[in-house]
């Protein structure tokens, strides 16, 4: 440690020394011209800073709460996924509603025979040439 006071001098100017440190300063400073000069230098800088005018603050206005910023690449990705999902859904729905049902003639015959058994008076018998 330096034999001179160094940082203790600034702390002394600010009233931040106590106890042993203050005792050390009081024991050293009166007999040390270098530290006295240093103290004057520091005092000058401190006075210059404290002499700065206190400025009036401008009207700072109401700070706006910033909306969370979503990166553009993420927006594009979400839009692309949504578009693909929409197209897939729309295509599937169209396919389901417009797909023709394949029914063979024999199937129709069987269905008609079943219905005829259930309600013979309401459904006429199958023509002979369609058997």
């Amino acid at each position: 440690m330096s034999e001179h006071l160094g940082e203790l001098l600034s702390a002394h100017l600010d009233g931040e020394l106590a106890g042993d440190e203050l005792g050390m300063l009081n024991g050293h400073l009166p007999g040390c011209e270098l530290c006295q000069t240093e103290l004057a230098v520091l005092h000058g800088a401190r006075s210059a800073l404290r002499s700065l005018p206190l400025l009036e603050a401008p009207d700072l206005g109401v700070p706006e709460i910033k909306a969370p910023v979503i990166p553009l690449h993420r927006v594009r990705r979400v839009a692309a996924v949504a578009a693909v999902a929409f197209v897939a859904f729309a295509g599937l729905a169209t396919f389901q509603t417009s797909r023709p049902v394949e029914v063979s003639l024999s199937d129709v015959t069987e269905i008609q025979l079943e219905l005829q058994q259930d309600a013979p008076t309401l459904i006429p018998p199958m023509p002979a040439d369609s058997q």
Partner: protein, 165 residues
């Protein structure tokens, strides 16, 4: 004095000190206003989570963080490296500091000298000599040991004095 409950109250009671801190650190009104608004914005969003108690420490921690964040983004502020043999005391042949400072137009010259300090030193002396905080308060606000605060203030003042000589 009870803690403020709204950002408007914070702006009213602390806005001027925050702005002066911001101005002395950034060196121009526009950046100072931006920094002050950013502080108030963070106060506004943070008040809901604030636990009543050490309001000043909380507020100045926010202020410090805003400055550090802005400083990191810009990285265009001038800095001055510490001279070699920094601990060497001023030569006795130098003019008396009072004489030097008497010929200095306080204001712009001091501000220019402040801007020549590194951000750490500048903030320490501004918090101490412009805002008027104790070493303990500064240590809490900028989250460094009190020994670091003492060192930064001392070295900051010495560099400032050299810049004004």
């Amino acid at each position: 004095m009870s803690d403020p409950t709204t950002w408007e109250e914070v702006a009213r009671t602390h806005g001027r000190r925050i702005y002066n801190y911001a101005y002395r650190l950034t060196g121009n009104p526009a950046d100072a206003a931006d920094l002050s608004q950013e502080v108030l914005l963070r106060v506004r969003t943070g008040l809901e989570r604030y636990t009543p108690g050490l309001f000043e420490a909380w507020l100045w921690r926010i202020t410090h963080n805003c400055f550090v964040d802005g400083y990191r983004k810009q990285k265009r502020r001038p800095t001055v490296a510490l001279p070699e043999q920094f601990d060497r005391v001023a030569a006795l042949s130098s003019p008396a500091p009072d004489v030097v400072l008497a010929h200095t137009t306080l204001g712009e010259e001091v501000q220019d000298a402040l801007m020549g300090l590194s951000a750490d030193f500048r903030e320490a002396v501004v918090l101490c000599d412009v805002v008027g905080m104790s070493y303990d308060e500064i240590a809490v606000s900028i989250d460094v040991p009190i020994g670091t605060v003492r060192s930064r203030i001392h070295r900051g003042r010495r560099l400032l004095r050299e810049a004004l000589a």
